[in-house]
Amino acid sequence: MSVDIYKINPEFRDIMPQEIIDLEDNATWAGESVEKRGISDLTDKKEILEEHSLCAGCPEAAALRYILASLPVPEETIIVNSTGCTSLMFPHIALHTVHSMFGNQNAVASGIKRTLGWRFPDKTKDVVVLAGDGATIDIGLDYTLQSFFRQEKITTICFDNEVYANTGGQESGSTAKGQVFKMAPKGKVFDKVPMWELAVTSGCAYSVKLTASAPKKVAKVLREAVLIAREIGPTYIHLYTPCILEIGLAANEGLWEMKEQDKDRFEDFKYVSDAASDYLKKCKKEGLL
């Protein structure tokens, strides 16, 4: 796999739709380019995500756009996802994506990463898991933690909306204590699972908790996490992307909600191991960050 899979044979250029021609002409690929990709590309470059079917104003969609715009080498990246709201976006990404069974995403990603290592020993392949809190923290917790214990060199991103949103609003392990949902009328009786801390004790070299309120910050964290996962070990990003529908907000209030939570449940948490910290300094010197 390389950027060549986006180059249209000249014989067919006249029959291809404009959005596919744009992917070749105006999307940002690492390819031979020396310039870093980033969220500034969102203003005038072709995005890797086509139109999706999430709710209007969903912060998850914005977060995914930031992430896709910031992947260091998208053409050499495999994205593994799981069942959930995110499933509605992944089929629309112009990268290799694998939809796993609910909760299996980290096991699938581990297998893919190892296989790519054997198949393409001379290439750097990034494997990124993107799944919701139900898949990462509840149903797939075993696989998530096992991939950390085993030091699988993958990046795991949890899109935490604190609820099972697309099945009507059931509480998840990530729901805050006391929260009431349509399908959780009594309110949650135990605390939110601190997955970002579990990631540290389970062996992640890098674990960050944040909201998607600041695009540049999301981009920086994503880049750091992917680079560390290449050389040092598993990395984890816990990203708050509220379900505005389930918590009763309007389409334009998602950003406000994330900014509020920046000071509350999603106050900054960042752990970087010593080895990862040294590696990041090296990356910075080499211009990778």
């Binding site: 390389s2 060549d4 249209i8 044979n9």
Partner: protein
């Protein structure tokens, strides 16, 4: 609305249920019969030249210049379309299109029948489509349209197509073009 295909609205719109399998090496499948590759090539060419709105659906394996073989095949498929007087509509990737496809200019494996119906296509060739998606699309077309389908496959062929030739690479495609030229001449097209 187009007519239904041979499987109609069967819950099992697959040729396998009619005891059809992919052809053995060196052979081709023509409807229910195993025939020589050249025979199937001639029949495919005849169908494409005589049925309405013949169309070639090139898939990602030939649309993109990802290796030398793909580049060679692209040139050959362009020539094939000219010889067969066929239109080309690309199946450029397999993503579901949101909110809907433009059936006039694209075909999607998730609902290929829309493109067939919209353009009233009565004969088509699938080439360069990855096997899984070719199978999905061919089953739907077989079930819900009266379009004659042909699959030019680099691997073992597709029993859900009405005609399939297998192990087709640049050399074999060039042979098909030569046979199509002869058929065209015979038909006076």
């Amino acid at each position: 609305m187009a007519n239904l295909g041979p499987a109609h609205y069967s819950p099992y719109p697959v040729a396998y249920y009619d005891d059809l399998l992919t052809p053995p090496k060196g052979k081709a499948l023509l409807l229910t019969e195993i025939v020589d590759e050249e025979v199937a090539m001639g029949e495919i060419a005849k169908m494409m030249l005589t049925r309405d709105n013949a169309t070639i659906f090139p898939g990602p394996q030939v649309l993109y210049a990802w290796n030398d073989e793909a580049k060679k095949k692209a040139t050959l498929i362009k020539e094939m379309a000219e010889v067969l007087n066929a239109k080309m509509i690309p199946m450029y990737d397999y993503r579901p299109k949101y909110p809907k496809i433009d059936a006039e200019v694209e075909i999607n494996p998730n609902h290929p029948n829309l493109t067939i119906w919209h353009n009233d296509i009565k004969a088509c060739i699938f080439v360069g489509v990855h096997c899984h998606y070719a199978n999905v699309a061919l089953k739907m077309i077989r079930s819900e349209t009266d379009c004659y389908t042909a699959a030019i496959c680099g691997l073992s062929g597709h029993e859900d197509a009405m005609a399939t030739i297998r192990d087709q690479h640049a050399e074999e495609m060039a042979k098909f073009i030569e046979i199509a030229k002869e058929v065209k001449k015979e038909l006076g097209k």
